[in-house]
Amino acid sequence: MSRPNPHQGFVAPTMSRREFVRLTALATGVAALAACAPAPAAAPTEAPAATTAPAAGGQAGSLTLWSWEGMTDGLSTQVAKFNEKYPDVKFETQFYGYDDVHTNLLNAIVAGTGAPDLVVFDTFHLSEYADGLADLTTEVSPIADQFIKPSTAVTSLKGKHYGLPTDLQPIGLYYRNDLWEKAGLKETDFETWPDLAGLSSKYDAAVGGQGHLFLVSSNDAALFEILAIEAGFRGYYFNDDDTKVIVDDPKMVEAITEMKALWDAKGTLQNPQGGYAGDESTALFKKDQLATQLVGAAWLPHSYPNSMPELAGKWRITKSPAIVKGGLRGGFQYPSMFAIPSQSKMKEQAWYLLFLATTGDGARAFRDKSKVLCPFKEVYDETLHQPEDYFGGQKIYEVFADISKDLPDIFYGTGFSEAQLIVSSHLAGIMTGETTPADGLAAAAKEMRSKLNKG
């Protein structure tokens, strides 16, 4: 039995739906393939042999940089000098948010097109981008010794240099000198983390419970990373050749047990909102309710005077505690770096600008503006004995230099970001007592090995 045709009188199509769909798919497929086909004049995949002293003149055009705000303060002072050598090259900076620079760069590398000629990113992302970056080993190797270690170690991967660093990020301990003095504490009162945990209850008693010596965050791997470096793991979560996960190593279990003791110490502020830096901790510092920053990265002298100008003169910096007496004191965070995507058709010019931005006057201008620790030796040496008003005239760069000199050659292995997230998610259970440090770290290691395919 057939159903009545609601479209009687209409000429029934003789092309079946299946045929139509097949034809449409074919047409779309052809169009898609045509769109995906490489352009006849595709960008070269290999970097040309740029030199550290490129010839004057040459290619005209536009040279584009991707950056987030604040990272181009040194470079912008060097554009005139750059244009003396390359008068026909127009320089343009495109600013994006911090996350967007990293995501857009990967998208451009994946797409094989659209990357800038020069880019700034944080060094722990290097392993993710390396396949899409120009190998600058020939250019960087001759000048690598002009940079303080381990800065060029973190801008290289598997023996190849991919750019130059903008800053050096040793980690110390920042403390409010006024609050410490009021509580009768001195920086010489501690050498190890257990010593510091002991000071927490002393501080709590001195202020009558109206404040905290420090805060410990349960979902932030920053403190874990300091402890990993101090425990001798220069790859943070991985062994020296980046093949094995080390987070369940007995040394790390011991270190995290000390972190748990910090968390449990009387008077510790347990995780106001996750993380060590942000609006919450800033508010607490301003209200004199928090006296110490445990994760005192070297970029904080840039941000603290802006976010807490009223605390000028009250801060001091010292070395982080060690896991054991006489042990290494201090960690290392993630400097930023300039690099050149291999898609760039102006690698020679981009290298010259990169070189100007990270050395000499470019590095000097960036240091002056940002107050970060400059990895270029010449500028580093100039800064070393400079007193900083915000830190009560303390020569803070001497402290950072003291921390840096003991640091090993740091590296960020493959899967660094994921390892960081995994550890963060397991730390919370350890800190709140749901699991022991040994079991929690074993679970984190198991998850890491499964997801990162490491031993």
Binding site: P13, F20, S218, N271, P272, S425, K451
Partner: protein, 308 residues
């Protein structure tokens, strides 16, 4: 003469064939933009994501086919059950509340007794057009531990400050509040459209029969709105499983303390665009997609069964 006639006849036959061909093809030509667009921006990416989920593609290096390894790893990934459970909590907390409030607001704003109905409708819909980032920031400020308005009020009335954004017990509650605030206006508009399709004489007949306002609501409005409510229920459920912006802004891609704010949308983002594990991210997306389809079909089936 014969040859001219034959030629003319052949020409007419050709024109007829062309006309017939065009009549046959033209409907497909007119609807083809949709299909071509759907193919390029819908089916191709879906198919591509399935292929990607079987590889270890990380963006830069050439992807390698690894079969079902991503799915096998996913079975042991504590992040997925956590994200699914969190999403279900948020779904339970937000969807019934949202739909109930939307229906109530729609009924009130559909009443002729309310003055300035259009102004109220606009006000309720405003959160929908507010930037998601601003929504996240405002809620972040409101529920801040140290300087948030909510805690300030709590402390002023003798309570204790609550760590809303870092205490796993309260994080999802903040997320639910943000979602209800943002989406109730959108659902209300859908409900209003449904209410307008109910003939007014049914209510008049009910009044004549002596039904109260509450009785009319439960015995006329709710039953006749069942298809609209079901539709809203399904699309809101799909929306919750695809939720991303609010938890991302409030708790970050990692989901905050103990991943209490991690939902399926942020989990997919985290793997794909923060860790650049496109293969693994695609596998998570497929698993979540299958779950969404299952729940949507279940809802539709249950809803239709109740309706019949």
């Amino acid at each position: 003469m014969t040859s001219a006639a034959e030629s003319l006849s052949a020409s007419r036959a050709a024109v007829r064939r062309r006309d017939r061909w065009w009549r046959t093809v033209s409907p497909y030509v007119f609807i083809s933009p949709f299909y071509i667009t759907f193919l390029i921006f819908g089916l191709l990416p879906i198919g591509f994501s399935l292929v990607v989920s079987l590889t270890n593609w990380r963006g830069t290096a050439r992807p390698q086919f690894i079969g079902l390894q991503n799915y096998a790893t996913l079975l042991q990934d504590p992040g997925l059950p956590k994200a699914l459970l969190n999403t279900v909590y948020v779904w339970i907390g937000s969807v019934p509340t949202m739909i109930f409030l939307a229906l109530i607001f729609a009924v009130i704003l559909n009443s002729r007794l309310v003055r300035g109905r259009n102004a109220f409708r606009t006000v309720y819909f405003l959160p929908q057009v507010t930037s998601l980032v601003i929504t996240g920031l405002v809620f972040g400020q409101l529920f801040s531990t140290s300087f948030g308005l909510v805690n300030t009020v709590l402390v002023a009335v003798g309570g204790n400050a609550i760590n809303w954004l870092a205490d796993p017990r309260f994080m999802k509650a903040v997320l639910v509040m943000a979602l209800v605030w943002r989406w109730v206006g959108n659902d209300m508009v859908i409900m209003l459209a449904g209410l307008n399709s109910i003939p007014g004489d049914i209510y008049e007949a009910a009044i004549v029969d002596g039904a109260s306002g509450v009785q009319s609501f439960f015995f006329i409005t709710v039953p006749l709105m069942r298809p609209v409510i079901l539709f809203d229920f399904v699309i809101t459920t799909i929306g919750i499983f695809g939720l991303f912006a609010e938890p991302f802004v409030l708790f970050g891609p990692g989901g905050g303390v103990k991943q209490a704010g991690l939902v399926t949308g942020t989990l997919i983002y985290q793997y794909s665009f923060q860790l650049f594990k496109f293969g693994y991210g695609a596998a998570v997306a497929w698993v979540v997609g299958v779950i969404i389809i299952f729940f949507s079909m279940l809802q539709l089936r249950l809803g239709n069964r109740e309706a019949t």
